[in-house]
């Protein structure tokens, strides 16, 4: 196990820079999730960490050692690929034991290592099968097994669950987290799925267009997103954004679209009349008599909760309730955001106003 330091790392393909100076400290044993939309550079960063891509500038160190010019095989890392990259002509056991075999380990030693990893992942009955004969989830586990056998300093995961169906994805999510709790190996995990990030990470790094938007624990990111991008990216359904102005007229409030009045606990200093974006998560709406009037558009019951799409000041917002409201399209309701849990972002640069 090792810590990993990513310092001001940049990456260009030709003249096109895809990473614009990324710095991420990763502690020993930490589970870090790099999350962001497609093309944000998260996979490229992971591949640079693995040594599969050159580093244009900046440094990456694993433990105390700067690995910029270290060959992938000498970095002591293991990677789980999105398509698993299992060797199709080798059995599960051979796939898992391949790295040990290359290292020149004795057959008995390889067998022990494979057996141990297979037990951890419940792969023992499958050891003689070929990858083609396995289901998606089993292949996924073999890919993880191949990583575990090596007992590396760092585990890298590149969107490992994106080829699985929804149910299996949830199960494997738990399995990976459990595995990390058991092995405590430093892990860097790339995904575009914020739910995976929220559920698994010790630390989430939200990336967007080649920069780090915010870094922090899942709940930190959820409670105090640093900017509008993070606020919109973390949480499902996504946060509602309403444009308008901060007003301090005796008490502070927010004047939303079409003059709709929304509550604020307090206004940031010198923000009277300032154009801003009002952010409120769907789960932070309540129905109250002093709420703002909204018109129901669609109601989507999921059983455990009810998602309500409504027009608030002409803008569509979504609200989530634990109760089973039986609204009809066109009904008028009074939605009230919890003033303690709303977010204000600068309209000009999207930064959080505190």
């Amino acid at each position: 196990m090792s810590s990993v330091q990513i310092r001001d790392v940049r990456k260009s393909f030709g003249n096109f820079e895809v990473l614009h100076g990324v710095t991420i400290p990763i502690e020993d044993g930490e589970f870090v999730v790099l999350v962001g939309p497609s093309g944000c550079g998260k996979s490229t960063l992971l591949r640079m960490l693995a040594g599969l891509e050159n580093i244009t500038s900046g440094t990456i160190s694993i433990g105390e050692r700067v690995v910029n010019n270290v060959q992938p095989k000498e970095r002591d890392i293991a990677m789980v690929f999105q398509n698993y990259a299992l060797y199709p002509h080798m059995t599960v056991a051979d796939n898992m034991g391949f790295s040990l075999k290359l290292r020149g380990a004795k057959p008995a030693e390889i067998a022990t290592g494979v057996k141990r990893a297979a037990e951890i992942l419940a792969l023992t009955p499958l050891l003689d099968r070929y990858p083609r004969q396995l289901s998606g989830g089993q292949r996924q586990r073999v890919a993880m097994g191949r990583a575990i056998v090596r007992d590396p300093q760092v585990f890298l995961f590149d969107e490992p669950l994106s080829n699985l169906d929804a149910k299996l994805r949830v199960a494997m999510r738990t399995e990976i987290k459990e595995l990390h709790q058991r092995l405590r190996t430093t892990t860097v995990y790339v995904t575009h799925d914020q739910i995976e990030a929220m559920t698994m990470a010790d630390k989430i790094v939200v990336m967007h267009d080649g920069i780090v938007e915010q870094m922090g624990s899942p709940l930190e990111l959820y409670d105090t997103p640093a900017n509008q991008f993070v606020a919109g990216f973390i949480g499902s359904p996504a946060m509602n954004f309403l444009k308008g102005n901060v007003k301090v007229n005796g008490a502070a409030y927010f004047e939303g679209p079409n003059g709709v009045r929304l509550p604020l606990k307090s206004a940031p200093a010198n923000s009277d009349g300032k154009p801003a974006v009002y952010g409120v998560r769907p789960e932070h709406f309540t129905i109250a008599d002093d709420g703002a009037e909204a018109e129901i558009v669609v109601v989507e019951p999921t059983g455990s909760e009810t998602q309500v799409f409504a027009k608030l000041g002409g803008e569509q917002v979504v609200a989530v309730f634990r109760e089973r409201h039986l609204f009809n399209p066109g009904d008028k309701v009074r939605l009230k955001p919890d003033p303690g849990l709303v977010h204000l972002f600068d309209d000009a640069n999207g930064k959080r106003m505190s």
Partner: protein
């Protein structure tokens, strides 16, 4: 009314028979297969059967032969020229195929790397395959000429030799010379086919092997070679069959000479049957190739059987 109704009924009956036939799966299936079967029978089965038959007769050009059983084969078995041609054919096939495989694989691996002017180099590699065989054979004939050979000329000018090499005058020189010509001609096919095979191997396998600690040689040995083995089996079967039955190169460059030293079974068969007029004997020589070819096909058939890792399961 009754008079009118009858032909109408008959018409309905006839058309329904046709339409029923065309709606029947079996009939339609048979109809669709007719063109393919006709082509196969006309151009493959019939000539093959005729060849078999001729080999059992003493047919000469211009005469009707009679059935003489295995007499042609019996006389061939005592014919030293025939056995020399068998040896030549095996020597030619084995050496040329091995070298073609080695060079082809090397070129394929090279072309699979990132290279400047890659597509141009690929086109150049294909060139020997594009040139008509007889043309390239004539070029080689000049290269090997006893008086005008460019190789001899260059070596003499460089001071490495004092007299011209007898490329086609000496039996072993001639054998190696035609082998080289065949290799030059056959490498592109092997290289391009293997390159196509290499490109189907997922790059992430190499990345995984890289992270697993594989050296270049280990990546080749444990990833490339096993993943490429089905394609290698196909391409080498083709290569062996084409080399074994080669005719054009030999016939253009040496005509089997000197003193039958480069006669292959195919050229000998042609010489005895067409030039010599003994159609029966020539056919018998051709037929004698069949056991070798069947052996090669069987070998590749078992080699080509999908290995266990390629079978079963779903994707």
């Amino acid at each position: 009314m009754a008079v009118l109704a009858e032909p109408v009924a008959a018409q309905v009956k006839r058309s329904s028979m046709w339409s029923r036939a065309f709606e029947s799966r079996n009939f339609l299936g048979a109809m669709f297969m007719v063109p393919a079967i006709a082509i196969l029978v006309l151009f493959l089965a019939y000539p093959l059967a005729l060849g078999f038959w001729l080999g059992m007769t003493d047919t000469k050009i211009g005469g009707v032969g009679r059935f003489i059983g295995f007499q042609n084969f019996v006389s061939l078995s005592r014919d030293s020229v025939f056995w020399l041609s068998v040896f030549n054919t095996i020597f030619y096939t084995v050496t040329a195929s091995i070298v073609k495989f080695a060079i082809g694989l090397y070129l394929a691996l090279l072309l699979n790397e990132r290279l400047p002017f890659k597509s141009m180099i690929r086109a150049i590699v294909l060139l020997p395959f594009v040139v008509p065989t007889v043309l390239s054979a004539i070029a080689f004939w000049w290269i090997y000429d006893s008086q005008f050979s460019i190789i001899s000329w260059v070596l003499i000018k460089a001071g490495l030799l004092t007299r011209y090499i007898e490329f086609l005058g000496d039996p072993w020189n001639a054998r190696w010379s035609v082998v080289v010509a065949n290799i030059w001609r056959g490498v592109p096919f092997v290289a391009i086919t293997l390159l196509a095979g290499l490109q189907t191997i997922s790059p992430s396998l190499y990345e995984a092997a890289n992270l697993d600690g594989a050296t270049n040689w280990q990546r080749f040995r444990h990833i490339t070679l096993p993943m490429l083995s089905p394609i290698i089996a196909v391409v080498m079967t083709f290569s062996v069959l084409m080399t074994f039955t080669d005719f054009q190169l030999i016939y253009t460059i040496t005509r089997g000479g000197p003193i039958n030293a480069t006669h292959l079974m195919a050229t000998l068969s042609f010489q005895r049957a067409i030039t010599g007029g003994n159609l029966g004997e020539g056919a018998a020589i051709s037929n004698a190739m069949i056991p070798f070819l069947v052996a090669a096909i069987l070998l590749s058939f078992f080699g080509l059987q999908r290995s266990r890792w390629q079978q079963g399961g779903r994707d």
